[in-house]
């Protein structure tokens, strides 16, 4: 039965048709994916020499020849592929073996409590923290010097940034483990994990083996999209690579950004060709990963058929060690930078500052105020807009009864899997044409693209889980669909809605490339400032920026957790008069 649904303020006629909620999902896809496609075309054309504004008016293979001649480009591409696959492989192995070994134990809950806040820390902040730990004058060497190493001056060796990309891998693992852990936790609720485990254990399989043999095969299909997103991100990451690789041995993403921001405009064509190669690298990485999946599945089936019940020796403690190392490095790096923001004097090899001071905050305020302001309004605008679109899509899904297929879920993940640089480059070309580069609208859209999928992932589960009989009861009491929406669903879903908003805000705070491209250097955020300063030595200023980057999302999460409680209580106090 088709019921035309419109808000109570909507007049009849064409206007009513215009705001029919059925339009929400296609409209969202258009806002969301249209520019991605346009951006890819805007990258592809210059890659074949077509860029009229720069005098490229015919198709040619010259950019590709120039790319191939560029020194070190193959090594950079290989470095991107190897570091990306290694980081994603290590993260997935660590998370799955940890969950296999410790599900249902107290460690599981503890891991969740520690990892959830780490998820909201931007990549750049985490990478700066790691850089401080591993630098020649970093915390680790300070703690070991001079008693163990004999150094009383920072030595000439650097663990980070390093020419091989190991610190890059480490930083990616630190940041990806919380994401994969929480995504897996969410997926566990959708498979019959508890029942499968009980049966496996009653048949004599140990906890870890039982989990790997019965739960993981059911689970993997639910988490493969997030894993591909992590893999694609690792292969094409730019901000973390800028911080943790050395100039002579960059990754491909770093090279592309160098070309795209070079004053020599002819390098724009090379950048476009490089961005196409970056796309190809992601496809190769996912292809290799899928082959790996098949292999593991085949070996795993043979392992299941053999019927062995013993856990792999030492796997549990190893997973715990890896988890503690990853979380420990992440937290102590951030702590180190927070201390730097309060430091007056901290000489090598002292473990802690010899003089503390709040002056840095006052002195750096002018430097920080503008990026802080931009970060705030940008995050609030992008998350707010994305939240409205997501809620309307979910509401349309409930009213029409059309649930998106798993293929539609791929569309949602598209901006997370297609390398950012590949379509941001072209999108910037289009924004220059439209006069929107460096304008706030382009910047909000660029952030929306990455914020929206996370808000959807965060909110769709609770939205669909709300007992539909509440809405039916309200409708049978005479409430219109919009009244049910505003007075029943919205208040009951207040908490997950606010949390989804905070998730979106945290994603926006951490974005680097979208800000660099759409902001055109005129609009800067805490994250772009942090990356810009990473080469220099002002750790006090970097510490201030990193503390703010971490604090903003955490504050919003705290608000999201507290607000429904306060509002709820206020509602009952107010009604005492009745």
């Amino acid at each position: 039965m088709a019921v035309d649904v419109a808000p109570p303020w909507a007049p009849a006629g064409w206007w009513r048709q215009m705001i029919n909620i059925r339009w929400a999902p296609p409209l969202t896809l258009l806002i969301f994916l249209g520019p991605v496609g346009a951006g890819l075309i805007g990258t592809l054309l210059p890659a074949f020499g077509y860029f009229p504004a720069l005098g490229g008016d015919h198709l040619t293979l010259a950019p590709w020849r120039a790319l191939a001649r560029y020194p070190g480009v193959e090594t950079a591409a290989l470095r991107s592929l190897v570091t990306g696959l290694t980081a994603a492989g290590l993260s997935v192995a660590l998370v799955l073996s940890f969950i296999a070994a410790f599900h249902g134990t107290v460690w599981f809950q503890r891991a969740r409590a520690i990892l959830a806040p780490l998820l909201s820390i931007p990549h750049a902040a985490m990478a700066m923290g790691l850089a401080f730990l591993l630098a020649p004058s970093g915390w680790i060497l300070r703690l070991l010097s001079p008693w163990a190493t004999g150094f009383d001056r920072p030595p000439d060796i650097a663990l980070a940034p390093d020419p091989y990309g190991w610190s890059l891998v480490l930083a990616l693992v630190i940041k990806e483990v919380p994401f994969l852990f929480l995504m897996t936790l969410g997926a566990l609720g959708q498979v019959q994990a508890e029942k499968s485990m009980r049966i496996a254990q009653s048949l004599g399989y140990s906890g870890m083996t039982g989990w790997l043999k019965t739960v993981l095969p059911q689970l993997y299909g639910q988490i493969c999209l997030p894993i591909y997103a992590v893999l694609a991100f690792s292969v094409s990451v730019v901000d973390v690579a800028l911080i943790l690789t050395v100039t002579p041995s960059p990754t491909l993403g770093v090279l592309i950004l160098r070309w795209a921001s070079d004053p020599d405009l002819s390098l724009q064509f090379v950048a476009a060709a490089g961005a196409c190669i970056q796309c190809l690298l992601v496809l190769i990485a996912i292809g290799l990963w899928v082959m790996g999946e098949r292999l593991v599945a085949r070996l795993g089936l043979a392992w299941i058929r053999r019927g062995s019940r013993l856990a792999p020796t030492g796997a549990g403690p190893l997973a715990m060690l890896g988890m503690v190392t990853a979380a420990g490095l992440g937290i102590s790096g951030l702590l180190g930078l927070a201390i730097w923001s309060l430091t007056q004097r901290w000489r090598f090899p002292d473990a802690l500052p010899s003089a503390w001071s709040l002056d840095n905050w006052g002195r750096n305020f002018d430097r920080v105020a503008e990026p802080l302001g931009t970060t705030l309004w940008l995050g609030l605008a992008a998350a707010g807009l994305a939240l409205i679109l997501v809620i309307l899509c979910l509401e349309a899904e409930q009213r029409t009864g059309h649930r998106p297929t798993s293929r539609a879920l791929w569309l949602l993940y598209l901006p997370l899997i297609v390398p950012q640089i590949a379509f941001l480059f072209g999108a910037q070309v289009l924004m220059v044409v439209a006069g929107l580069d460096g304008h706030w609208t382009g910047l909000v859209w660029a952030h929306l693209l990455f914020v929206l999928p996370y808000i959807f992932l965060s909110l769709s589960e609770p939205y669909r889980a709300l007992d539909p009989r509440y809405g039916r009861t309200a409708a049978c009491l005479g409430a219109s669909p919009w009244r049910v929406f505003l007075q029943v669903k919205m208040p009951m879903l207040l908490r997950p809605i606010l949390i989804a908003f905070a998730v979106g805000f945290a994603v926006s705070v951490g974005e680097y490339l979208p800000t660099v491209f759409a902001g055109a250097g005129r609009l800067t955020t805490l994250t772009t400032e942090t990356v810009a300063l990473s080469g220099g030595g002002d750790r006090r200023l970097i510490g201030t920026l990193v503390v703010l980057q971490g604090a903003l999302p955490l504050l919003l999460f705290a608000f999201a957790a507290a607000a429904p409680f306060l509002i709820h209580r206020a509602a009952f106090v107010r009604k005492k008069s009745l």
């Binding site: 039965m1 509440y470 039916r472 409708a475 049978c476 005479g478 029943v488 509602a571 009952f572 009745l578």
Partner: protein, 214 residues
């Protein structure tokens, strides 16, 4: 009593794809009487109630005619059908106080004083006169059930649909609440359609009983 007063189903059947849930059903529930529908799980009892109140999942196809007080319900949205429904769970809105839950059911167009008076009257009717400002979570199961029933009646429905609303209560509470619902429905002269597993419900309803066959 005229034909027009009650709830009338004519040749109603429901199907999903090529599967029909039950044989076409024809039933007249006169005002003030209670008809009971029994049948095994999966026979479509609850789905029939959603078809009547207009919240049928779009995967189902309904044929036949449903009319209430002489109005054909086909094509009407649920909020325009005037069919109150009670489920197994009370489904009081957790974000609203007890009084606000009751007020949610009141028709629009009443002034403040009328709304307040009707809510007050309902509260004392439920023996919960002082509970208006309370969070529904702080009420006992029986208290919540009574509020849910009165909320449905405050919306001034033309029929009351009962989707096993007694099955989760313990046996003593069940008898009392059943009497409470039946008394109120008959005082308002409503046709009632009750879906249940429990033969005691059918006996207490004291009306026609229909067994849905798959």
């Amino acid at each position: 009593m005229s034909e027009k007063d009650g709830l009338i189903l004519e040749d109603v059947s429901l199907s999903i794809g090529a599967t029909r849930l039950f044989a076409p059903l024809t039933l007249h529930v006169p005002a003030g009487e209670i008809a009971t529908i029994m049948g095994p799980s999966g026979s479509g009892k609850s789905t029939l109630l959603s078809a009547i109140c207009g919240t049928l999942d779009p995967v189902f196809v309904q044929t036949g005619t449903i009319s209430l007080r002489g109005r054909n319900l086909a094509g009407l949205p649920p909020e325009a059908r005037h069919t109150g429904i009670l489920f197994q769970d009370d489904l009081l809105f957790p974000h609203l106080s007890v009084a606000d839950n009751l007020a949610f059911g009141l028709p629009a167009g009443l002034n403040r004083a009328e709304r307040r008076d009707r809510v007050r009257a309902a509260l004392s009717d439920a023996d919960l006169a002082d509970f208006g400002a309370r969070n529904p979570a702080t009420l006992s199961g029986g208290q919540r059930a009574r509020i849910a029933c009165l909320r449905a009646l405050l919306a001034e429905p033309d029929a009351l649909l009962l989707d096993e609303p007694f099955s989760k209560l313990d046996s003593e509470l069940r008898d009392r609440f059943r009497q409470f619902v039946f008394d109120h429905a008959s005082a308002k002269g409503l046709p009632v359609l009750l879906v249940t597993h429990d033969p005691a419900d059918a006996t207490a309803a004291n009306g026609i009983t229909i067994h849905l066959a798959v």
